[in-house]
């Protein structure tokens, strides 16, 4: 039932919104993960980001894909919580009061162990429109623990203009999305974060050069 509702939501709301209202150009679609499991890492400027990333996949795969979202934002108000869990499949994680029992990595790890895939925004917040902040270390911990799962870097542009942080009125702009080659990272946390950020900067350069 939940899957049906989600598919209907994507078919009737998300797809028309992204295709007709906004117009999302996808670059390097060949890099889209065909393997069952992946960790997608993207920059974050807008609520549209998670929609655009999930929309890359066929409806039949959506129930295995979870955007990781801040519990203090998405899991407080019961309506927003129900909406985002039902339609967007989010995994809420804590950003504050982190302890052994309240560990953000725990739930992400469980999902990966169950064979599901994650969409992670390592900047940790949407931040200033169209600016990329430095990555938080949590994602590196996770990649260290699951070195066999491919990491797919994705760079998004334009969503932060269409629906920036603190704004609920959508203004259409053409948006771009570029998918990088899958990475398999290992080593120290700093090295993993370094190679992720390098991949993101490389994607941004490629995008700037092609448009």
């Amino acid at each position: 039932m939940q899957n049906f509702a989600r598919n209907l939501f994507f078919l009737l709301v998300v797809k028309p919104l992204l295709l007709v209202m906004l117009g999302v150009n996808v670059f390097q679609k060949v890099n889209l993960p065909k393997s069952r499991q992946f960790i997608m890492v993207a920059n974050h400027n807008s609520h549209l980001d998670a929609l655009a990333l999930m929309n890359l996949f066929p409806l039949g795969r959506l129930h295995h894909i979870h955007p990781v979202a801040a519990a203090d934002y998405f899991d407080v108000n019961p309506v927003i919580s129900w909406f985002s869990k039902t339609f967007l499949n989010i995994i809420p994680i804590p950003r504050t009061h982190i302890s052994k029992s309240n560990n953000p990595l725990k739930r992400m790890g469980e999902a990966l162990e169950a064979g599901h895939s994650l969409i992670i925004f390592p900047e940790g917040s949407r931040g200033q429109p169209e600016e990329m902040a430095s990555f938080q270390t949590g994602v590196a911990h996770l990649i260290q623990k699951f070195p066999q799962i491919p990491v797919i870097p994705v760079f998004l542009r334009g969503m932060g203009r269409s629906l920036p942080k603190g704004e609920f009125i959508l203004v259409p702009f053409f948006c771009d999305l570029i998918i990088g080659q899958p990475l398999f990272c290992s080593g120290k946390k700093e090295e993993i974060l370094g190679s992720l950020e390098l991949a993101m900067h490389h994607l941004r350069e490629t995008l700037n050069a092609s448009v």
Binding site: G23, N25, P129, G158, R161, P164, E167, I169, L170, V171, P172, F173, F174, V211
Partner: protein, 320 residues
């Protein structure tokens, strides 16, 4: 053969134009295929894409005309929306202008609503007067004066070019059939759009074949004098050839050709200048082989209002 020709002459302008457009596209496709076979080491990918996109655009345009005038008004409104979106995506806008841009987008359906109810007086002043006054007033709410003149100018310019000017196509569509123009608005729109596009294509082909001297080197280095003159002559000749569509006299067809080819060239250059200013070659990659929607409708922003006034003045004096 004679019966076929007779049938062609007595058919409606939509059918006549459909035959012409799709015959030309078929010839172009065949010629490019042959050229690709004759010169196998030359890259024809862009030309193939270009012609493919022409097929798609022409089909949308022609089908909307064939289905219902309202369908093509909707199509023109959607074109305005896409063009405005592409323009706002290209230029820099302030974060504070977010909701002002929202209002600008809202003006698209309103402008086309005036077309739909055929209210010419308001259609003509809504953008140049009311939106002109509204945008700066709404910008005041942002409370930020730094860059406000730029925002006023940029937003209103986009509305004028891509909504106001383009919507003249839609209004032309609603013009009634009169004895002098038996085909009415449909025939006029077909004539205008076909000539505008032929002018673009003719400029491109003449420029490729004989172009040497750039005509506006700092704005668009690829446009040449030969392309410009070739375009004007070709378009004027085609305007004379196709005058059976509208029922124009020889002089009227001649002036239509001149107006469309000269102003179409200007519209093309204006958009080129904007692209140069923001530092892109194509306005986007929406239309394979052509670039963005602005690259395709640039000439129409100039030809549509000018041809509209030319026709209005001669055939549709007030109150129509």
């Amino acid at each position: 053969m004679e019966r076929l020709l007779n049938g062609f002459y007595t058919a409606s302008p939509v059918i006549q134009m459909g035959v012409i457009i799709f015959a030309l596209l078929t010839i172009a496709s065949v010629v490019i295929r042959l050229m690709a076979q004759l010169k196998p080491n030359q890259d024809f990918k862009e030309l193939f894409q270009r012609i493919r996109s022409w097929w798609i655009m022409a089909s949308f345009f022609w089908l909307s005309m064939a289905i219902h005038p309202q369908a093509s008004i909707l199509l023109f409104a959607f074109m305005s929306f896409l063009a405005l979106k592409e323009y706002f995506t290209l230029i820099h806008t302030r974060i504070e202008d977010h909701r002002v841009l929202f209002w600008a987008f809202l003006a698209v359906p309103i402008q086309y609503w005036w077309v739909h109810i055929h209210w010419k007086a308001v259609f003509l002043i809504f953008m140049p007067v009311y939106m002109f006054l509204f945008i700066p007033a709404r910008l005041l709410i942002t409370g930020k004066t730094q860059g406000i003149v730029e925002s006023m100018a940029k937003i209103h310019w986009g509305l004028m070019a891509f909504v106001f000017c383009l919507s003249h196509l839609a209004f032309l569509m609603t013009m009634p059939a009169i004895p002098a123009i038996p085909g009415g608005g449909k025939a006029l729109v077909l004539y205008l759009v076909f000539l505008t596009e032929i002018n673009d294509v003719a400029q491109y082909i003449w420029g490729k074949l004989f172009g040497r001297r750039p005509i506006a080197p700092t704005i668009s280095p690829k446009k040449t004098c030969a392309g410009f003159y070739g375009g004007v002559i070709t378009t004027t000749l085609v305007a004379l050839l196709l005058r059976f569509l509208t029922g124009f006299s020889l002089e009227m067809a001649f002036f239509s050709g001149l107006i469309i080819s000269l102003s179409g060239f200007l519209g093309d250059l204006v958009i080129s200048a904007i692209k140069r200013d923001v530092g892109v070659k194509d306005s986007s990659q929406l239309i394979p082989g052509h670039g963005g929607i602005l690259d395709r409708i640039d000439s129409l922003t100039y030809t549509a209002p000018l041809f509209f006034h030319f026709v209005s003045y001669l055939f549709y004096p007030a109150p129509h």
